[in-house]
């Protein structure tokens, strides 16, 4: 984790945005970002991530609410005076300028002397490992190199806040992994605050200090990556971050110090951790991670044990994926790490499944 202090760098206070005056693209956003933090806005396409960045950068005005930068409202500050570095989705490099000129541009408009300009450009090129590329045109660079230039340009005037809008969206897998590492390294080196946007949950998990999961303009949950995975507060987050089995059921009763629901689903009664506040008789969604499901456990070891039929087996190298029919569904997934081989099941076998109450989260029914 990078060095941070507890000052709030950016704060969204009840920010809403509508382009057409009718549909809210961002709804009542409250979000605080600490100095030096790497925060990712994660959400499917159209969930309002870019809009939030544009409001922060100053290209869009909020319909309601206010944004504070270092405690100061920035409504009336035009984009060019906010001093925020921005990496655009399609790089937005200036195609008619060389790499060096692209990097010198923000320094020239700040009337910096030629000597210092050259020094800074050199330094930032070294930072993104593009020494010797200053005289190339962007079109003569590969996608990954262009991305590095875009990042360098957003950093060269030493902003304390950098926004990145799906910066790796156009790169292929291996290059992405490399750039993810590079961006983290740069973040650690410079200790800038980064607001990062992606729709790729794995990327978000790899890079972020905290992740804000967005859906339809609403922040569903903000947490550290582990928190999102282990303790999702809604079924959207549970299914968006990693994989989860989602069973729909009805609450029969509560038990055990009031933090466990007994839920009926597909003819089975399941003990689930109380996450959503519901009453007896309400519908809930149960979320169970596939790797937390044990096949044919020792009897009596798990609070939840059900009968199931093997529907399908997929060997994935490091793990075995088993599709099972249980609790009235045929798409229940269990994964078994490939450590000791598996029990030699074949399609049609009857098995017992077991999982703990803690690994079965009762979430609001959607």
């Amino acid at each position: 984790m990078s060095k941070q202090n507890n000052e709030t760098h950016v704060e969204f206070k009840g920010v809403s945005k509508s382009y057409d005056g009718r549909t809210m693209v961002v709804k009542d956003l409250d979000l605080g970002i600490r100095t030096g933090e790497f925060v990712t806005l994660l959400g499917p396409s159209g969930s309002g991530k870019t809009t939030i960045l544009m409001m922060l950068a100053g290209f869009q005005a909020p319909t309601a609410g206010e944004i504070l930068l270092d405690g100061q409202p920035i409504q009336d500050l035009p984009a060019r005076k906010r001093g925020i570095g921005m990496v655009f989705q399609n790089y937005a490099l200036f195609p008619h300028m060389t790499v060096g000129a692209n990097l010198a541009f923000p320094l020239e408009v700040r009337r910096m002397g030629a000597e210092e300009r050259r020094e800074r450009v050199e330094r930032v090129l070294r930072l993104v490992r593009l020494e010797g590329f200053a005289d190339r045109k962007p079109s003569q660079l590969s996608g990954g190199q262009q991305q590095r230039v875009a990042i360098a340009r957003a950093l060269v005037f030493e902003p304390s806040l950098v926004l990145m809008d799906e910066p790796l969206g156009a790169l292929d897998r291996s290059l992405r992994d490399e750039m993810q590492y590079e961006i983290r390294r740069i973040h650690r080196t410079l200790a800038v605050t980064v607001v990062y946007v992606t729709h790729d949950q794995q990327e978000a998990m790899v890079m972020s200090d905290r992740i804000a999961v967005l859906r339809k303009g609403v922040v569903e949950q903000i947490a550290v990556p582990e928190g999102l995975y282990e303790e999702p507060t809604g079924s959207f987050v549970a299914s968006f971050i990693g994989e989860s089995n989602q069973l729909h059921g009805r609450i029969l009763g509560t038990s055990e110090a009031d933090n466990v629901y007994e839920v009926e689903t597909g003819g089975e009664v399941i003990h689930a951790l109380k996450v959503a506040q519901c009453n007896v008789g309400d519908d809930v969604t149960l979320s169970i991670r596939p790797e937390r499901v044990k096949i044919n456990p020792e009897a009596g070891r798990y609070t939840n044990e059900v009968d199931a039929t093997v529907e399908d087996l997929t060997f994935l190298g490091n793990q075995l994926r088993v599709r099972l029919a249980t609790c009235g569904r045929e798409d229940f997934i269990a994964t078994i790490p490939n450590i000791v081989g598996h029990g030699g099941w074949i399609t049609g076998d009857s098995v017992r499944l077991g999982w703990t109450t803690v690994d079965c989260r009762a979430l609001n029914h959607e």
């Binding site: 060019r80 399609n90 200036f94 005037f157």
Partner: protein, 406 residues
């Protein structure tokens, strides 16, 4: 497979024949409607066989003539026979008008000579011809005949450039009062440049506005730009007459609001102003369309990026937007300028006398003075200017940079 089409069998052969068959109509069309007319026109500007065909032997004898004294009787004798024959074959009129262009007044001399020689069967021919017209006692007429007798000649081009070749072979400028074409070329270039500039000033913001608009609105605006194309050129030009003439809408309005007096009505048409206003209007779409197509390909994030890097709107425009729109500016300017220097109808209708361009002069020589050689030479000079411009543009911007498509 590189190189020319292989005329033997093989898998690629049929495909190539088919491809050739498919482009053939276009190729033939281009040859018939463009290459051939252009070629004949250019040929006509340097090739004129009429006099050479009508007076072959005379011209042969004149080759030995010193150009200063009168030629000997032998020349008059041959010339008389050939003039008679040309008169009988009805080509003498064409000969006369060509000779007349070298020196005014000789047309009637030659036609009259042809008529009166019919009655004369015997020499001495020199005296007879001098009696018919004293012009035959002046070496100038022989010089004129010899000049027009050249099959291949540069004299149309000398003419088109306000030059003339003297009997001693030197080429000098025309006398002051006969220099018209260079001035007209210059004026055409200046007016075309001004029109191009006006089109750029008017078209750039429009194109920018369209490129920045939402697709639905951009379509509407594009249609508005294109509406003039759907209207006849004559209607558009006439509309300007209605607006700008002395009793026209604009003048009436200015008089009504008292900005000008009834006797101080502005002359805005049938002069240079009329030509400039109407042509700017007619040519504006040719500026807007290439500009729009280039601007449309500039992502809106470019300006956002410039702003996020701290640039003021003016800095962002000058350093980011303008350079990227240059290919469109180049394409539009080249298109408008080249169309303008060859434009004919609009200046003819609203240009009056001082708003005429070189193309109107070409039309005059084609239709009225029937000096097709000179018309062709003027056209040739115009073509050369266009090619030069094209070369300069290529040098400055590179032709591959012309942006007509996004």
């Amino acid at each position: 497979m590189a190189g020319p089409i292989k005329l033997s069998g093989g898998p690629g052969y049929r495909a190539k024949v088919r491809a050739l068959g498919l482009v053939a109509p276009l190729l033939i069309f281009i040859v018939v409607t463009f290459v051939a007319p252009l070629g004949t026109m250019l040929l006509r500007s340097v090739y004129d066989p009429v006099v050479a065909d009508a007076l072959p032997e005379t011209l042969e004898l004149l080759e030995d003539w010193d150009g200063i004294e009168l030629p000997p009787e032998a020349v008059y004798a041959v010339a008389a026979q050939e003039v008679k024959r040309a008169g009988a074959e009805r080509t003498l009129g064409q000969v006369a008008s060509r000779v007349n262009r070298v020196q005014g007044g000789l047309r009637s001399v030659i036609t009259r000579t042809g008529r009166e020689l019919r009655e004369i069967q015997q020499g001495p021919w020199r005296e007879s011809m001098m009696t018919i017209d004293s012009a035959w006692a002046d070496p100038a007429i022989w010089y004129a005949i010899r000049t027009t007798g050249e099959r291949f000649t540069a004299r149309h081009y000398w003419n088109a450039l306000d030059l003339q070749s003297l009997p001693d072979g030197s080429v000098v400028r025309q006398p002051e009062d006969r220099r018209i074409y260079l001035r007209l070329f210059w004026r055409t270039l200046m007016i075309s440049g001004l029109i191009t500039l006006l089109c750029l000033l008017l078209g750039y913001p429009i194109a920018h506005l369209i490129a920045c608009s939402k697709p639905s609105r951009a379509n509407l605006l594009l249609i508005l730009v294109l509406v003039p194309f759907w209207t006849s050129l004559l209607v558009r030009t006439t509309a300007w007459i209605v607006l700008l003439q002395t009793q026209g809408v604009l003048n009436e309005f200015l008089v009504t609001i008292g900005l000008i007096g009834d006797d101080g009505r502005l002359a805005m048409i049938y002069n240079m102003t009329g030509t400039i206003v109407a042509m700017t209007h007619v040519l504006l779409p040719f500026m807007v369309l290439p500009l729009y197509s280039v601007m449309n390909s500039i992502p809106s994030t470019q300006m956002d990026a410039a702003a996020s890097l701290g640039a003021t709107p003016l800095q962002a425009f000058l350093r980011v937007y303008w350079p990227q729109s240059l290919p469109g500016v180049g394409a539009g300017a080249l298109l408008v300028f080249i169309l303008a220097i060859g434009y004919y109808i609009t200046p003819a209708l609203v240009g009056g006398s001082d708003g005429q361009l070189i193309s109107n002069m070409i039309a005059y020589h084609m239709q009225t003075s029937l000096n097709w050689g000179l018309a062709a030479a003027l056209g040739g000079v115009l073509l050369l200017i266009v090619l030069l411009l094209y070369a300069v543009y290529e040098r400055l911007l590179g032709i591959e940079k012309i942006g007509l498509g996004g």
